[in-house]
Symmetry: C2
Subunit: 335 residues, 2 copies
């Protein structure tokens, strides 16, 4: 099929029997026109299914109603809800999203940044697969940037991160509420930002309630295998515990399996919390896991809102934590 040339404002003007300028005013509500002129133009536009050419509009307005989204790591499980949330908010505001995947490669990142700036995006959202901090983007020529999930190391930048300590506290509180006092923490690698932050917050919060961990946090991989292994370690050391706070749902699921296979019941004997509320894991676990949901979609929406504000000239520099939620399932409260 030959691509039919789309209607221009001249076609509309011609059909309505007015000049281009008048048509423009009618469609944009500028100037003062007679009501019936406006109506005639509108009707002509409808009839031709007129949509203003965004290139022409951008050329004039100096903005593109487009924002770039750079995922620094590969787009992954964490980035998706962020994307969806951001796309949601931006789409509502007439903005479109250009997607760039930098694959953890600084060269690619630089390349994408140039592309986005070259395309004159109105703003940029930077996301990554894991929480923590990152160096700020190189020069963005005054284009506003919001970092989502990971924070820029520069306090002048605007970052929206998950309130991981808050999430950790929710889990700890919940376990205290259901009466647990002999609590262990099994989590990810010691050098990993999230693992550390969450463990520290957990310990502090429990301490404030007069509870001490039965043993220092156990650090390992973010895997089910580590969760199973860690249960073995605890048993070997003859450590008695009635709850385990896990650094991820995967670890928690491993813990659940190991406990079941050694004859202990969750949650009767041991209550268990995960982190991430990753449904594939949390729901498939036996029993399903109580978990902390970082509300990444909400975080993405928040980031997008801040970006919109910044584009409008009201930047909000600093690091903004986004609250997490507790999702209660059978691993802490019997069905």
């Amino acid at each position: 099929m030959q691509r039919p040339r789309t209607a221009t404002i001249r076609d509309v003007a011609a059909l309505a029997g007015v000049s281009v300028g008048t048509a423009s005013k009618a469609l944009n509500g500028r100037g003062s026109l007679r009501a019936d002129t406006i109506a005639r133009v509108r009707q002509a536009a409808d009839q031709l299914d007129f949509q203003p050419n965004p290139a022409a509009r951008s050329l004039h307005a100096g903005r593109t109603y487009t924002v770039g989204m750079i995922t620094t790591d590969t787009i992954g499980r964490f980035s998706i809800p962020l994307l969806i949330g951001a796309e949601d908010t931006l789409g509502a505001g007439e903005m479109s999203v250009l997607l760039c995947d930098a694959r953890d490669d600084p060269i690619r990142e630089q390349h994408h940044l140039r592309t986005l700036l070259g395309r004159r995006v109105d703003g940029i959202i930077v996301t990554g697969r894991r929480a923590g901090t990152r160096r700020p983007l190189a020069s963005t020529a005054g284009v506003p940037v919001v970092y989502a999930f990971l924070a820029s190391t520069s306090p002048d930048d605007c970052s929206v991160i998950s309130d991981e300590p808050g999430g950790a506290r929710l889990a700890a509180d919940h376990l205290l509420t259901v009466g647990r006092r002999r609590i262990a923490v099994i989590t990810g690698p010691e050098h990993h930002h999230s693992a550390r932050v969450r463990a520290v917050a957990t310990i502090a919060h429990l301490a404030a309630a007069g509870v001490e961990l039965v043993t220092p946090p156990l650090h390992g991989e973010w895997s089910e295998a580590w969760g199973r292994q860690a249960v073995g370690l605890l048993s070997a050391q003859q450590i008695s515990f009635d709850a385990v706070i896990c650094g991820s749902d995967q670890i928690a699921r491993g813990v659940a399996d190991a406990l079941r296979e050694t004859g202990r019941h969750v949650p009767q004997d041991v209550a268990l919390t995960g982190f991430d509320n990753w449904d594939v894991i949390a729901l498939a676990s036996r029993p399903p896991l109580t978990s902390i949901d970082m509300d990444l979609e909400g975080l993405g929406r928040a980031a997008a809102s801040l970006l919109l504000k910044a584009i409008e000239g009201n930047p909000a520099p600093g690091t903004h934590p986004h609250p997490a939620k507790l999702v209660i399932r059978d691993s802490t409260v019997p069905a």
Copy 2:
């Protein structure tokens, strides 16, 4: 920071001491210019970090070097590799990707389609979370469309789908190769396109080798729980089997767990194949799963290539299957 006006070609021309037209030619390699003029212009452009305004370029060229990607279901596990693959090839070709998430909502889809057409994208890729077919997009005013992963019901459209029957045959072949003959199939809902297609292909292929399933395909949910439950059904019916072909990795993992918990060894007693090669599941399974990988990233790249061709005026209507791969792990071949 005040946004510094970006350099225009006039700035470049002025700095190089030539006219705008000459500068344009120099930068685009058109016309015939003296070598040193070209050099001077290039140098001026570099110095000013000149990047042509895409709005102006689009306005003239009548194209935007942008393609829209609509995910009809929410962006999910399957869409991501597709996105990445497509973004990869398109990005290489100077094209950027506008992302739209229609959330399985026809209204949203229609809205996004209008937006994309309004933005004058050069082409559109439509993807979805599950394989199968869908009605074609409403009028796209001649803008080329490629359907990826799911196929359009119209044969005039261009679709790239996974060769699921081929994938199913790979699994069946592999099991025959490792000497299994008493094979069962446990898969997803009977009404689900993928479940049906894969089961049918499996049966036909085994039949061609003179092997019949030990029992008709067992249909249930796409879940681990169903996998476990199905093993129970087989046992209850006293059906003996030495291999199970599963419709998904999740089902296979459930089967693996149930077998282990009833004292049967995988793969010694029962060999097991999954489908999707979804690492979180396939690798976490005990043992790790042999699985079929649909190479969605490659599929995304293929779709993008076809779209580029179509944009260049060489459409390739029809449904193009993309081959799957067998990934062998411990669930069929002892470590």
